[in-house]
Symmetry: C2
Subunit: 108 residues, 2 copies
Amino acid sequence: MANLFAPIPPELPEEIFEVLVQTKNFRLERILSAGQATPPGTWYDQDTHEWVVLLSGSAGLRFADEPEPRVLRPGDYLLIPAHRRHRVEWTDPARPTVWLALHYPGEG
Amino acid sequence: MANLFAPIPPELPEEIFEVLVQTKNFRLERILSAGQATPPGTWYDQDTHEWVVLLSGSAGLRFADEPEPRVLRPGDYLLIPAHRRHRVEWTDPARPTVWLALHYPGEG
């Protein structure tokens, strides 16, 4: 048995992506952030849907078609549809931000 | 945007199962428990794998092939393979127990 909140390294120079479950139909991963953000001017444009929940810390998630980032607190979740451009404007600099993300293709 | 921890009804006479994402390849659900357990003498024997994480509260998860229940605390996760018989011996009577469960078939 493992825990999503431990061990969290005291220093996180880069975000950590850990695959928890992967099949040919989806990928479930844990993401650890510590103040990182998507590089300025960069947007994610993904081929797959992403269901994501923030479990600790906080973050600002910006969609290209929205003027302001959405502020995510622990427990907040949402679906990022494939090809809806988005970026992480900020993550909590004071404590680790733990995400769970479920990536899966659209059904044809 | 929704939150896994709210709204939680003050009284939960029965467990609540809420499907968050469903495709033909998996089902992601939130489970809310408040002291419930699997009925005595009953075991779950599922056709699908279940990846499960406990996010708040606590629970005792017993496998039929283990003598004692595993105690799950927030963040604890594990995979329950298809047809590994198990039951929930207890959930926290004092506060809501929130689970995320991802059910998916084995890959043939």
